[in-house]
């Protein structure tokens, strides 16, 4: 709440500038989120459920690929997605000057 009061007490042009920055920041966040959620959907619902039969025709070592995505691969990708998000967001925070320091 404190931060909001600070913003409104600034001169109009600067407040408008901050607002514009925040909007651009939000768009960048949504874009990154969209990409990562698309991957999230493809590896789990796509490879692990909807495409599991055709992928099971492909073998990697002792695994059928669809089975592997459903029981192993999707989980590895989930972990990578969150770390990627955390890392990318730190950069976006800094770029728009909204990082917590």
């Amino acid at each position: 709440m404190q931060e909001m009061q600070e913003e409104t007490s600034q001169p109009d042009s600067e407040a408008a500038g901050t607002e514009e920055t925040h909007r651009a920041y939000w768009r960048a966040n949504l874009r990154l989120m969209g990409w990562l959620l698309a991957v999230w959907f493809i590896v789990s619902y796509g490879f692990g459920i909807l495409l599991v039969e055709p992928l099971n025709e492909i073998r990697v070592g002792g695994f059928k690929l669809g089975f592997w995505f459903a029981q192993q691969g999707s989980i590895y990708v989930f972990v990578a997605l969150i770390f990627l998000y955390a890392w990318k967001m730190n950069r976006i925070d800094r770029k728009f000057g909204v990082d917590e320091s």
């Binding site: 925040h22 459920i49 002792g62 695994f63 192993q72 590895y76 969150i82 909204v98």
Partner: protein, 593 residues
């Protein structure tokens, strides 16, 4: 040393550790009690979240469920991990910025309404109690199996431990015991898994051994892949192939989604992200949490395949008289039973049941005859089921007995007991804190008695935690018959209520009180009605032919969530927009600084 001594020693040591942490992390403020002062590091929060999340069911039952359902077990694996991606991207950072103590706090303030807060409080308490009863039961089962203690006494000991650190230390005590409990449970899960993987495939990592070739008794590589061998064994015995799915695709899709979204909407998981100092810490600790969860969740399906292969090879077609000691041990617990249908003294394992239900029973319960059979085997009053199968195996045995089946040393078996207890206690504590905070903070401080001081609120919080421990313990000793059936409830309701309300509260500035309350009510009523109908009112009709679009009660929360979104968005557009102050609140939580 014998097994009993090892078990007492290891369980005793871990309990002493938890009590030590409880004494070191006492708190004196509500902020300390609800969110550990907000000073938890991302790594510690990741460890604590992983323990908080992985329950008795994840530790004891999940590998067994996968073992018996093969490929279809995947929806638990994906559902209970994929939810963390939603949590990290859609909820955790923003709720951390909002920075209060509970989920109803967010709902109440974002939707400027005590009614909305009340709906959230009721959901949070219901979901948490449903869940916690199962944890206490898990504590009792582990005690009775490994320490020869009555289930009731086991539950009582577990209650005492949780009471100590939850009431004294609140979130702070819970956080640091959960960190310790994660270490115990992951060690206990991985050690037997690694031993078994090395024995069966020569690979150290179970995740790799899972896809490798099996060794024969002398340790020579047979050149046959484990999963191919298992598929072959299944074919021989008349089971469907282990690596093929059996459920309808649409149902698997909806169940996976309900588990994912429900995971992201469970209050005891969400509140963990209030405990870190900054927004960036919330994002990072979600990554750590899933990494630590994935360690167990990628090992479990490997354990499932190893255990299944081991079990079939050990028992199928073998003489009952030649069974190893563990077989009798587990017969005595009622988790394993054999009936010699064709009087040949050999164990035949095949699809279908071995026993029928007793007249009047709703589910299968084995009833022992006082007399034993000619081979010394226990006998049962239950009727024999049709079909050739002679073996009854409870799925929990796959983790609990796996070390014995694989002939691992006693200390490893004792470790499994300590791990099961750690998993159950850590989850129970997290849930109890949600219940306690819902009552003292949301119900008393923010709705009924706004005048109370911080000191009084803290006292009420401790009392609520104490009472909740007792109620949970009562349900642990006298489990209501419906516990197993209502687990679908916890996820379905979290998916159909909290998740849409929180996501829309962050991502739509136009979302207002009317839309959110209508959406939550419609989502909950629809989901609850569907589950109650198929689970309690008309359980005979619980087959895919009668389900709406072929969606089982386990997956219906997804449809409830979609309904919630649709109703919320429609109603909010038809009613007055939220006040300016709320729009500014939304703008604030979207930006870290």
């Amino acid at each position: 040393m014998d097994l009993q001594t090892w078990t007492y020693l290891i369980v005793g040591l871990t309990f002493a550790l938890y009590i030590g942490i409880a004494i070191l992390s006492r708190v004196k403020t509500t902020k300390g009690f609800y969110v550990a002062g907000g000073h938890v590091s991302p790594l510690a929060n990741g460890l604590a979240t992983a323990a908080d999340w992985m329950s008795a069911a994840s530790f004891i039952s999940m590998a067994g469920i996968i073992s018996f359902s093969g490929h279809d077990g995947a929806y638990y694996l994906m559902g209970w991990t994929g939810g963390y991606v939603l949590l990290a991207l859609l909820l955790a950072p923003y709720l951390r910025k909002f920075g209060q103590y509970t989920v109803p706090d967010f709902v109440g303030q974002r939707y400027y309404s005590k009614q909305a807060r009340l709906v959230a409080v009721v959901c949070a308490i219901f979901v948490s109690f449903t869940y916690v009863a199962g944890q206490m039961r898990g504590v009792g089962v582990v005690f009775s199996r490994f320490l020869d203690v009555e289930i009731g006494l086991g539950v009582l000991i577990g209650m005492g431990i949780v009471f100590l650190y939850a009431v004294m230390g609140g979130m702070k005590g819970i956080t640091y015991t959960q960190v310790a409990q994660y270490c115990v449970l992951i060690f206990a899960f991985l050690v037997p898994a690694i031993f078994i993987s090395m024995a069966m495939t020569g690979e150290v990592f179970p995740q790799v051994g899972f896809g490798s070739t099996v060794l024969d008794a002398s340790g020579k590589d047979t050149g046959i892949y484990l999963l191919d061998k298992l598929d072959g064994l299944h074919r021989e015995l008349g089971f469907a192939a282990y690596t093929n799915g059996k459920k309808e695709t649409i149902d698997v899709f909806f169940i996976t989604a309900a588990l994912m979204v429900g995971t992201a909407g469970l209050p005891h998981v969400i509140i963990r992200f209030f405990t870190v100092p900054r927004v960036r810490d919330a994002r990072l600790s979600a990554g750590y949490a899933l990494l630590f969860i994935a360690l167990l969740y990628t090992t479990a399906p490997a354990v499932a395949a190893f255990a299944r292969t081991n079990l079939i090879e050990t028992v199928e077609g073998q003489a009952y008289a030649s069974m190893p000691e563990w077989f009798q041990n587990w017969e005595n617990t009622g988790l394993l039973a054999w009936v010699d249908k064709n009087d040949d003294g050999l164990i035949q394992y095949a699809p279908g049941g071995a026993f029928g239900k007793m007249p009047g029973d709703k589910s299968l319960k084995l009833v022992r005859d006082p007399e034993r059979g000619s081979l010394g085997e226990p006998r049962y009053a239950n009727p024999k089921a049709d079909g050739p199968n002679e073996l009854y195996v409870d799925r929990d045995i796959m983790v609990l007995a796996n070390p014995e089946i694989a002939r691992l040393p006693n200390w490893v078996i004792a470790l499994v007991a300590a791990g099961g207890l750690a998993a159950a206690l850590s989850t129970a504590a997290g849930l109890l804190l949600v219940i306690s905070a819902s009552i003292s903070h949301d119900l008393l401080k923010n709705i009924l008695m706004p005048g109370i001081t911080e000191k009084q609120e803290l006292l009420y919080a401790r009392m609520a935690a104490g009472v909740a421990v007792c109620i949970a313990g009562y349900f642990g000793v006298n489990p209501p018959g419906f516990v197993a059936q209502v687990v679908a409830f916890a996820f379905g309701l979290a998916a159909a209520s909290f998740f849409p309300a929180i996501v829309l509260g962050i991502f739509s500035k136009r979302m207002n009180r009317e839309g959110a309350v209508a959406g939550m009510v419609v989502g909950i009523v629809f989901t609850a009605a569907y589950i109650i109908y198929f689970k309690f009112v008309n359980p005979e009709a619980n087959t895919s032919a009668h389900w709406l679009f072929g969606i089982s009660p386990e997956g219906i929360g997804t449809l409830g969530m979609l309904l919630n979104f649709a109703v919320s968005l429609t109603i909010s557009r038809l009613t007055a927009p939220p006040p300016e102050s709320v729009k500014r609140l939304v703008e604030t939580i979207r930006v870290p600084r």
